[in-house]
């Protein structure tokens, strides 16, 4: 525990630059959207307090918005607003609206009727009644709404990193995909602290007495605006081209770290989720992205892989990894899984991925078509000699492989199959395997090496990026450490790759990563 804590502090100290940037971005995102939410929500709340007939429909719409899962809402935003700050702010704003509108409405309608009547009877205009009586008296309730909205926003803003808007989510989601607990905590702890801090500050404000509240009501907007400005401080730099890298890629030696140290590549970089990266590149919002060499979208969006001339991306040959005890329990399993070995090369895998990701064929159909074409498909035997549990990570290729294995097992053995697909990133999948919640899932040699085994740099260098050396190394280490067996590789190498639009790469004469560096350094 002590060691864990120390390394967390070490990590945070080492990454303090990024941590500061992300924290400021996080605060900025939270408060920009909060300001807009107040500017929109307060007048709407006042409107429905005046015209009560509208209250049902407006509160209803705001309520429905709030129930949309955050990832989905961010997803809806991309076609409308692209990636980056704009869609993130709009999504956060939509979440913040309901508590602000609702509390403004409740606050104003809750003002004592006799007080309002007295105000009117003394000759106040509607405006004066609003500003001198209704709003001040509703203020504690309105503040409670703003407080709720702030806490919601701090939480949802962690998801902003999915669409390249920055914030502490970069660490959190980077850490999840990199199997790096310190990184997750370095994002999650500050995010939680921010939520607690803002909540208690606003709670103090809410319970101030009337006189101090008058002062606070004047200071608060200034403070919120200052916080909102934080967002713009970190992003005040640029370069000729913009790169979009996944949080995972950002933190890896065989990713952005290697690009910097081995190639000396300096490029304006934003962090973005894999889900939207290819499309953003296609739509010229990004110029360089960190993709996978077998991704179907490579074909769909007309992108080209830059040659890794200095070999920083280690091989990522896919193979099923299986618990030793499962192999014992299901004697026919190994033989069956190995039927796929050597059958799928890079271009075949890219094509299969293209079918699911772009043509939206179901993974089951793509798997069945492939097996049939290669004379591997056999109808289910309907056996019940035990259940094999197959896992997969949360992307298309893994679904296809899981489907193929399911069909092979059901067709050639008497075992039944339970699938647990969509298990998030490497960490979640691998933890499921070691905790005996699944028996197998398809893994990649590079991931096994760098994300799971995490050996010394010396040991990595000794493998020289060689396919067989890497495979043998992970195979032995997994057996020794985890009693997990790497079966034969399937054939394709789904390695990291830098990609650009074909046309732009041709125009700029960029074929290798070194070409890209030279282009960027030309004035």
């Amino acid at each position: 525990m002590n060691e864990q804590q120390q390394t967390l502090w070490q990590f945070m100290a080492q990454q303090s630059d990024k941590l500061l940037t992300q924290t400021l971005q996080h605060i900025g995102l939270t408060f920009i959207s909060l300001i807009i939410a107040v500017l929109v929500g307060l007048p709407l709340g006042i409107l429905i307090a005046r015209k009560r007939k509208l209250s049902g429909s407006i509160l209803g719409v705001a309520g429905v918005l709030q129930t949309i899962p955050s990832i989905a809402l961010l997803g809806f935003m991309i076609p409308l607003l692209g990636i980056g700050a704009k869609p993130a702010i709009v999504a956060l704003l939509l979440y913040a609206l309901l508590p602000i509108i609702r509390n403004t409405y409740t606050g104003i309608t809750g003002v004592d009727g006799a007080v309002k009547e007295a105000a009117v009877a003394m000759g106040m205009s509607k405006r004066q009644v609003l500003f001198k009586v209704e709003l001040p008296l509703a203020m504690p309730v309105i503040l409670a709404g703003i407080r709720t909205a702030t806490v919601i926003n701090v939480g949802v803003a962690t998801l902003a990193s999915y669409i390249a808007a920055g914030g502490l989510g970069e660490f959190i989601f980077g850490g999840i995909s990199l199997n790096n607990t310190n990184m997750i905590l370095a994002g999650a702890i500050p995010a939680a602290l921010l939520a607690i801090l803002f909540d208690s500050l606003l709670s103090m404000l809410q319970h101030l007495n009337l006189k101090k509240l008058k002062v606070a009501a004047k200071v608060l907007p200034v403070l919120i605006i200052v916080m909102a400005c934080f967002y713009f401080i970190p992003s005040a730099y640029g370069s000729k081209l913009t790169a979009g890298f996944t949080p995972e890629f950002m933190g890896r030696q065989d990713g952005n770290l290697g690009l910097r140290s081995k190639y000396g590549l300096k490029i304006h970089t934003i962090v973005i989720s894999d889900a939207v990266m290819y499309k953003a590149c296609f739509e010229k919002e990004l110029d360089v992205i960190s993709g996978y060499s077998t991704d179907g979208r490579l074909k769909a969006y007309d992108l080209v892989v830059l040659d890794d001339n200095k070999k920083i991306f280690p091989p990522y040959y896919a193979a099923p990894i299986v618990r030793d005890d499962a192999l014992k329990k299901f004697p026919d399993l190994e033989k069956t899984l190995n039927m796929l070995s050597g059958k799928i090369n890079d271009s075949v895998m890219t094509d299969l991925n293209y079918r699911t990701d772009y043509l939206h064929q179901s993974p089951e159909r793509v798997a069945k078509d492939f097996l049939t074409a290669h004379n591997l498909y056999q109808p289910e035997r309907g056996g019940n000699a035990g259940i094999v549990r197959i896992g997969s990570k949360i992307f298309g290729e893994q679904y296809i492989l899981a489907s193929m294995y399911t069909m092979l097992i059901k067709g050639y053995t008497d075992y039944d199959v339970a699938t647990k697909t969509g298990l998030g990133g490497t960490k979640i999948c691998f933890d499921a395997l070691t905790n005996n919640q699944i028996d197998l899932y398809p893994e990649y040699t590079g991931t096994g090496l760098l994300a799971i085994l995490q050996p010394q740099q010396k040991a990595i260098d000794a493998l020289e990026g060689d396919r067989d050396k890497t495979y043998n190394y992970v195979k032995n280490e997994f057996e020794n450490r985890y009693q997990i067996k790497w079966l034969q590789p399937i054939g394709f190498n789904n390695a990291y790759a830098l990609m650009m639009r074909k046309k732009q790469a041709a125009d700029l004469g960029v074929k290798t990563i070194s070409d890209l560096k030279q282009y960027l350094e030309r004035k």
Binding site: D112, V115, E117, M122, G123, Q128
Partner: protein, 318 residues
């Protein structure tokens, strides 16, 4: 001063106010009396346009109130509510200063006027910077009254102003109310459902029922010349007390006054008022002074009682 002409107000099918007409003279205190739901509040609120009438007209000083903007009209009319309607987020001083602020008086003038009113209404200066919820009910009602009086409006509308107070506080405020010089010059319309209060404070009473005025007259007229059985019935309870409140002793000669221990009584003081004062003094009678403040006679308990019998003897038999 105020003329109400065939005024009606319907809420959907309920006729809250049904073709009523009355006039209030300058400086007069008119009471709208009646049971709950008879249309008193609705009538009152139409005078400062908190409610717009369905039909009929209201004139103040001969001018139709519809000709003015509602805000301007209201700033010239004081309004006191039963639940005082004080702003909970304003201090006592700020509450009283609301109308002067709206009228853009300068700060010095406002301060001076606020402390003057506090003194007249027997409120300690220490309450200036206190919030209403720290005051007793009686104090809150006094602040409400001060707020209505601050800009010295010629007209004052009061909706059950003392109904929420306990009996002791209420009779204390009644007494102050009658002696407050600020109020003597004002034209007041006060709503109440309390007959005793109406007889004590009113120069004239409009007795209302189901949105109509059943009788409009002085307390004595209502008591001794009731328009119908409804009025008689309405005034049945504690009638003796009402009679003492309605009957006045023969007035002093032109320019003269009644005084007790050097304190002058209101010119229209009732027998009840005088008897109440007398019971606190030992062996001293009320002095009758002429216009040169020469003592021309005295009124003691016996004289007041005989004035009561004299008056009663001249009334037609009930």
């Amino acid at each position: 001063m105020i003329k109400v002409d065939h005024l009606s107000k319907s809420f959907g099918k309920t006729k809250a106010v049904d073709h009523i007409s009355f006039e209030v003279n300058e400086g007069e205190n008119l009471i709208l009396l009646g049971t709950s739901g008879c249309g008193k509040t609705t009538t009152l609120k139409m005078i400062n346009r908190l409610i717009e009438p369905t039909a009929g007209k209201i004139f103040i000083n001969g001018r139709d109130i519809m000709e003015q903007s509602p805000e301007a009209l209201r700033r010239g009319i004081g309004y006191v509510l039963q639940n005082n309607g004080l702003f909970p987020h304003y201090t006592v001083a700020e509450n009283i200063a609301i109308v002067p602020q709206l009228l853009k008086w300068d700060d010095k003038q406002i301060k001076h006027r606020v402390s003057e009113l506090l003194e007249k209404l027997h409120l300690d200066k220490k309450y200036l910077n206190v919030y209403p919820n720290e005051l007793s009910g009686g104090q809150q009602q006094r602040v409400g009254l001060a707020r209505a009086l601050v800009a010295d409006p010629p007209v004052l509308l009061m909706d059950e102003p003392f109904a929420a107070l306990d009996n002791v506080t209420r009779s204390k405020i009644h007494a102050e109310f009658k002696e407050l010089d600020e109020l003597k010059r004002k034209t007041i319309i006060m709503v109440t459902h309390d007959v005793q209060e109406a007889f004590e404070l009113g120069d004239r009473i409009c007795l209302m029922d189901k949105g109509r005025i059943i009788q409009n007259g002085t307390p004595a007229e209502l008591l001794f010349k009731p328009a119908n059985a409804f009025i008689k019935d309405f005034l049945k309870e504690q009638r003796l007390q009402l009679e003492f409140k309605a009957i006045k002793p023969p007035p002093p000669s032109e320019g003269g006054t009644f005084e007790l221990q050097g304190v002058a009584f209101p010119a229209d003081a009732s027998l009840w008022f005088m008897l109440e004062r007398l019971q606190f003094t030992k062996n001293e009678n009320i002095a009758i002074l002429d216009h040169e403040r020469k003592k021309v006679g005295t009124l003691g308990f016996e004289e007041l009682m005989s004035a009561f019998y004299q008056y009663k003897k001249h009334q037609p038999h009930e």
